[in-house]
């Protein structure tokens, strides 16, 4: 497991990271936690000419809350999200999601920005971020912009992010009735299917729901059919069944050694029900 040769540079500021990237050219890549980029390099599936280490860039390592919005810096690790009081209170579904990523080593090194930038179809965060209506904050040498999570994830390892952009943070609206349920790949422990659910409850009835699904298709998507089935219901069996059977609607299910397309579609429904039950219990 020996990678191709590469250069390694450490950026001490965002500006320096951008200029290093511009200087190093097309084949350069940022490295944050290294838990997606290094495995691919070891297998010689990717060969960056230069790795620009952004893990020392200041200003991207905090979790903060401003009113109803939680901001998670691009360098915040999965373990930090999972154990953050702010996140657990404001958006327990997101903390739950971070807590089931990989294993402790992965969670201690892997970062929010890296996960979102890499956009592995089996990544957990995308399902949660789409469900919870998050915004991805991007910056480049020429300025910054924000993209909704739903618009951000566009395909297999493809996002709305330009190559010269950095994920500086994600903003997540508070949602106490939120949850994330995952069916892990038994080997890699990535999501075969992961479903994030956020409920807007009024007493026993669900005024609106938002549902994000990861792992099932080539990128995370919002299951709007499921959302409509839940909205206005009392989350009884009929509504849950309808929501579950709509969870894969209109999506091209992936098929691999861990799950065929049919089984994946079925799992979308099962995980949806589990996430709804957990979210409801938090309402």
């Amino acid at each position: 497991m020996i990678s191709y040769n590469f250069d390694y540079k450490v950026a001490s500021s965002m500006e320096e990271a951008f200029s290093m990237l511009a200087e190093a050219g097309d084949d350069a890549s940022f490295i944050a936690g290294g838990h997606s980029v290094v495995p691919a390099m070891k297998l010689r599936l990717s060969e960056p000419s230069t790795l620009i280490d952004i893990s020392k860039v200041p200003g991207m390592s905090d979790i903060s809350q401003d009113g109803d919005t939680v901001t998670i810096g691009g360098l915040v690790t999965h373990a930090e999200v999972a154990s953050s009081d702010v996140v657990n209170n404001a958006c327990p579904g997101l903390a739950e999601c971070a807590g089931v990523i990989g294993d402790p080593q992965v969670r201690n090194k892997g970062t929010m920005g890296g996960n979102v930038a890499h956009a592995d179809p089996g990544s957990d965060y995308p399902g949660a971020l789409v469900a919870f209506g998050a915004t991805i904050c991007l910056a480049s040498a020429s300025g910054s912009r924000e993209v909704s999570a739903e618009d951000y994830f566009t395909g297999l390892f493809e996002t709305a992010k330009e190559d010269d952009e950095m994920v500086t943070a994600v903003k997540v609206p508070a949602s106490s009735a939120s949850a994330y349920a995952k069916f892990p790949n038994p080997a890699s422990r990535y999501a075969v299917v992961g479903v994030g659910v956020s409920l807007n409850m009024n007493g026993g009835s669900c005024e609106s729901a938002s549902v994000g699904v990861t792992g099932a298709a080539d990128h995370a998507y919002r299951a709007s059919g499921s959302e409509s089935a839940l909205a206005g219901s009392d989350l009884g069996d009929d509504a849950l069944d309808a929501a579950a059977s709509a969870a894969a609607d209109g999506q091209d299910m992936m098929s691999d050694l861990a799950a065929s397309a049919d089984y994946r579609a079925h799992l979308c429904g099962v995980m949806l029900k589990r996430a709804v039950a957990a979210a409801k219990a938090r309402a």
């Binding site: 497991m1 020996i2 191709y4 040769n5 495995p39 297998l43 069916f183 038994p186 080997a187 890699s188 050694l257 861990a258 799950a259 065929s260 089984y263 079925h266 799992l267 099962v270 029900k273």
Partner: protein, 791 residues
Amino acid sequence: MGKLVGQPIKRVEDNRFIKGEGKYTDDFNMPNQTFAVYVRSPHAHAKINSVDTSAAEAMDGVVKVFTGQDIADAGLAGSICGWQVDFKNGDTMKEPPHPIMVADKVRHVGDPVAMVIAEDKYTARDAAELVNVDYDVLGAIVDPKAAVEDGAAQVHDDVPNNTIYDWELGDSAATDAAFENAHHVTSLSYHNQKLVPNAIEPRAALAHYDANEDKYTLYSTSQNPHLARLVIGAFVLAIPEHKLRVISPDVGGGFGSKIFVYNDECGCLWASKQIGRPVKWTADRSEAFITDCHGRDHVTDAQMAFDADGNITGLRTKTYASMGAYLSNFSTCVPTYLHGTLMQGLYTTPAVHVDVTAVVTNTVPVDAYRGAGRPEATYSIERLMDTAAREMGMDPTELRRKNFIPAFDGVEQPGYQTQVALQYDSGDYETNMDKALQVADYESLKATRDKAKSEGRLVGIGFSTFIEACGIAPSAVVGSLGARVGLYDAASIRVHPTGKVTIHSGAHAHGQGHETTFAQVVADAFGIGMDDVNVIHGDTENVPFGMGTYGSRSLAVCGSAIMKSVDKVKEKGARIAAHKLECSPDDLEFANGAWTVKGTDKSVGFGDVALTAYVPHDYPADEEPGLDFASFYDPANFVYPFGTHICVVEVDKDTGEVDVTKYVAVDDCGNVINPMIVDGQVHGGVAQGIGQALYEGAVYDDDGQLLNGSMLDYTMPRADNFPMFETDKTETPCPHNPLGVKGIGEAGTIASTPAVVNAVMDALSDYGVKDLQMPLTPERVWSAMNSNGNA
């Protein structure tokens, strides 16, 4: 039980392992060493048109590139098969050549075609990609049963229908008659799937040819350095024994996969002489997946016949066993003498017939993997038992109770002769099962299961009462069955002048804890402390010619050699003590570290005697100085550990996931030297067996590509897949070896796989699922549950 024997002494070797200070092959370096990388076939079956090494050779830092043609030009044969199993009609087994690197055609993904040697490993790796091999891709054969069919791709030109041999054991006519008269017949068909061993340390070699001494040294990840020296010296490279030293330092797990003498390591030795520099090679994980010998890969039909009372009247199996693309050292004996001979299990089955066809396929070679043949046999028997009990409406424990061989100790009562060639040494199977039922509290388990089922939850209980043959093996017996080696072991005991002791062990430790158990045995025998004993293993120039560690043999065979040396030390020690005490050796007894004149308080200590042996001033006239003895031990029989494993699972109705909620293992491995180490062996073995039942399995496509050749896709079991294992034991001593021990290294793996699958089938008993193929992945379980109109 002695002061140390029988105690859960902490493993002395763990001090260095836990601190990360073990020294493995890759940790050794030599001045001026080079680094090798093999260029391996990306195709399962392809003709090689040409190999262009020019770009690689032109790269800075590349020392030399060798190809399969260089090996052919050197006239080197390659590794050998160590066990001849002939066809039923007497025709000789087919033995296709297995060259160190191939020149004509590749036969599995990973087959080496060239070797790049460079100044550093990074250059070697980069240069390997520049070797340009032009292939004509051929159709591949993967399925062991389809391999014999006309029209299947032919792996080797001179192996028609890919058939290496066909073989049978037992009385076919009597067995068929039993089936004709049967009241009930239970049948199963299954693929005991191909497993990747995945030892944590990949294979490695550091090879050096010293021209001044005309001598080779090989550091290597071997479970048996003397066997490696024998095979490499006598067969692969024709090096006289005294000119080849094999050192097997700390080895990070083998599970069988490091028994074998691989061509890769031999290639390094050969290359070292060609370039006049040491050559180091360390496999990476991806390479391990496609070059370490895999395990299992049996396609089997198995049937059991019963009379109206539930007595087994016959058992027959037909197996197609894949050898992979080439015959690895012991590949041929695994589906035959390690499999067919175990088919009686621990039942009185009066008629047994086993039929095996061994085939080559375009897959990684298959050889012994923890249990080797015995897990496959146990899987057949024990799956049939639980299935039959369900079909006949009997409790699985009652069905077993009816059919157990009655207790025999092998001393008062003779050993038990089976229908399939073995004579069991001693056993008390019913007592063992009863103990397990008590430990598991079977009655309340059943109540819990039934209550869960009434609530719509899917809980199941599975059994496996198993026996294995280990302590491999009486040389004359295995020789008569086709083995090309003896299977004795050897050990010497060197008592130093101050009474400290070094054991030189022929068995090699790579996880088994020999440095602890062997020391416990010897320290107790001499009445000294653990700290006074040291164990040396793994170097052909430092230890006697032992055959190594596999087949749960180290304690039973090498431990017996140790005891023979202990006896020799004690006999000579007694003569020296008698001289000092001015009496006859017959007047002495040895206890608590001293020889004492019986009935007196006159005694002389072990250390005194040792010192006298090395400073022989006042010494018996006709006695040699020194206290140092080597012994060889060739076992009289195999040893036959047995046990009862009980598994409880809950199946998730919605996803098909199987959760192992309780696991009870009551093993009988004869006398126990260190219960903690025995527990550890059982834990690891059970984990591996559950791995096969639920998670593992090499998946090939029709082109022979291994689809799950990485840890991202190949599911290894992990700690969080398991409950706390509950272990207990019965102790039925082995009657024919000095320690009364039977071996425990493989028991957990052998027992657990069918117990888990049986438990899942019990959980699904209301779903009309006939059977499930391993691994029982969530999707397979869920699909089966939902394919019989049982959604």
